[in-house]
Symmetry: C2
Subunit: 351 residues, 2 copies
């Protein structure tokens, strides 16, 4: 039994590029926890690849499933020791949860945002939604502020079930905040909150597969966007954001998971961002923590899980990195229409 | 007086690509501190570009120099307000200093490392040296461990005035640690410490302009490297590291400043790293803090500073980002000899 055979099996069965090291990551995760969601989280490879790896490891007698637990067998433990595979040590700072940011100055914002967000629309599978924790949204605002992308700036939020535009406008620091969303519930929610709090926040209903309205092109200093993670879909969303920037010095904030995007796909995405005229200035893994969505049991990955347990709403397992880009040249993107399914590929798990 | 004129002047006089936003960054920094080193640090653009910007701002009557202080004039303040330029808010977590890592489990390592590092060789301008704080070295070890690049792994350190190889070996976690350095003082120091502590640490004297010895090629899981920052020099060092990796899943840790590398250069470097078969998995700005080196007054940037003050040894102003890359394909690099000066370009400040 070789790790390389498991990697090959995953590539063949799931069409997901996986390295020998990725298989070792799954074993490291099982060395650290017997809980399926912690394993998925710590393995940090596409969910479907973790599921396939666990099944292969079970067939090899290295792993066993007991009720909803995943356990390493004596053979598995011996193999891990022989291969020099160690448990995961996350070493996340307990104060900032690994983001490196001090949120104390945003305490009032956190309270105000919490009050408003109580009545937010629930995540909908129809629109590939799934929102981050309130703390994550506040941390994003803090990072924007620390990078000089908030105060006095004009910002555009492309798809906003995370309510970033609301939190940004609540700080009263930006010059202008515009949010786009395809979901009428989000649009109405943001508009109602903006009216109630008298916020400088414009909200437009817009399907991001459609070109950006002319009046939004080259008008912003900052964009924020949490793209769908098929390669084509990711670039579609990122290019919309870039086309909204005024030019060099404009900044974009994008989420990207390891759970629906292999490092192969990450590389292709990074190349495309650089080729569009941007540079990566920050990349914080596990910056975003998600609140579990109500459609866990109908998501694509569910039938693949070797053991099944519905996680609690605030039991984080789905995280994503935050990538900040900045244009150093004029953005090289086209504002075209995208048709067909831009949401799904082999690595998709939650759609 | 337009920011774009200042940007153009810097490009023409110093040959450094600078955006209007970069000039605004210098003004933001002056809004926040009157100390030249804090301004250089917070502006986050090449030191020589900050110096040139300050001179231009003084000529425009926006900035004035008093003794060793840099102050915004009434005109300058009015202009900042008009242009919507705000002070810098660093929002660095006070526990982890913005790195997001918990160092508590490495307390013993920190003490042991501190005792050994007391007698380290002082930074030498001849070899473009300048070492990071002890805390930074420990934090690097923590990040390697958190990413699974330390325990049970074979690691190579290319150039080691930071003594990363020593700290790594002290954890007793890696399978093998090899350090290369051109400076005989560093080689001797590491060897003596290794012997004293009975560490699994091999040290070779090697000039990184020369090809890697055959027996180090494709032999390692992890490399650590703090390259010189001319574009050619950076790639030379990075390619050496990549050529030492076994293949896909191998990881590299590289430093990169904003003070000697413009975002233009960052983008070219990132493109080259991706083209070599790697992906960027982490990018933490300001991860590394440097101890001030004894040759401040003979470094290239010194005569350019509009006001002069020798900073204290432990008064950090020179920081750099930490970039983690991982190979997703076989590394596409050549192990060739580099001749001539690979250390200097227009953006160099400390050589």
């Amino acid at each position: 039994m070789e790790l390389r055979d498991i990697a090959k099996r995953i590539e063949e069965k799931q069409g997901i590029p996986v390295s020998v090291r990725d298989v070792a990551r799954v074993i490291s995760a099982v060395l650290t926890s017997s809980d399926i969601w912690r394993i998925v989280d710590m393995a940090g490879i596409p969910v479907l690849a973790t599921c396939e790896a666990l099944r292969a490891l079970e067939e090899a007698g290295w792993v066993t499933f007991q009720n909803d637990r995943v356990l390493l067998t004596a053979n598995g433990k011996e193999a891990a020791a022989r291969l020099g595979i160690h448990p995961v040590e996350e070493l996340r700072c307990p104060r900032c949860h690994g983001r490196g940011l001090e949120l104390w100055p945003f305490q009032d914002l956190a309270h105000e945002f919490h009050e408003l967000a109580k009545d937010r629309p629930e995540a909908s599978q129809e629109f590939d939604q799934g929102y981050v924790t309130e703390e994550t949204t506040v941390a994003r605002i803090a990072l924007l502020h620390a990078r000089g992308d908030l105060a006095g700036k004009e910002m555009l939020v492309l798809g906003d079930d995370d309510l970033v535009s609301l939190a940004a406008a609540l700080t009263r620091l930006p010059k202008r905040v515009v949010a786009l969303d395809v979901d009428r519930r989000i649009v109405e929610f943001l508009r109602t909150a903006a009216k109630k709090k008298n916020l400088n926040l414009e909200v437009l209903q817009h399907d991001l597969r459609e070109p950006l309205p002319e009046e939004l092109l080259r008008r912003f200093d900052t964009f924020v966007c949490d793209p769908t993670e098929s390669f084509r879909g990711y670039l579609a969303f990122a290019h919309r954001g870039i086309s909204a920037l005024r030019g060099p010095g404009g900044a974009g904030y994008l989420g990207l998971t390891r759970l629906e995007a292999s490092l192969h796909k990450w590389r292709r995405i990074q190349l495309a961002l650089l080729e569009a005229g941007a540079v990566i200035t920050d990349l914080f893994p596990n910056f975003h923590e998600y609140v579990n969505w109500p459609y866990i049991e109908t998501m694509r990955a569910w039938p693949h899980l070797p053991v099944k347990r519905v996680p609690g709403k605030f039991e984080p397992w789905y995280r994503s990195a935050l990538i900040r880009i900045e244009l150093v040249e004029e953005g090289k993107v086209e504002n075209v229409r995208y048709s067909g399914d831009i949401f799904t590929d082999e690595e998709a798990a939650t759609t």
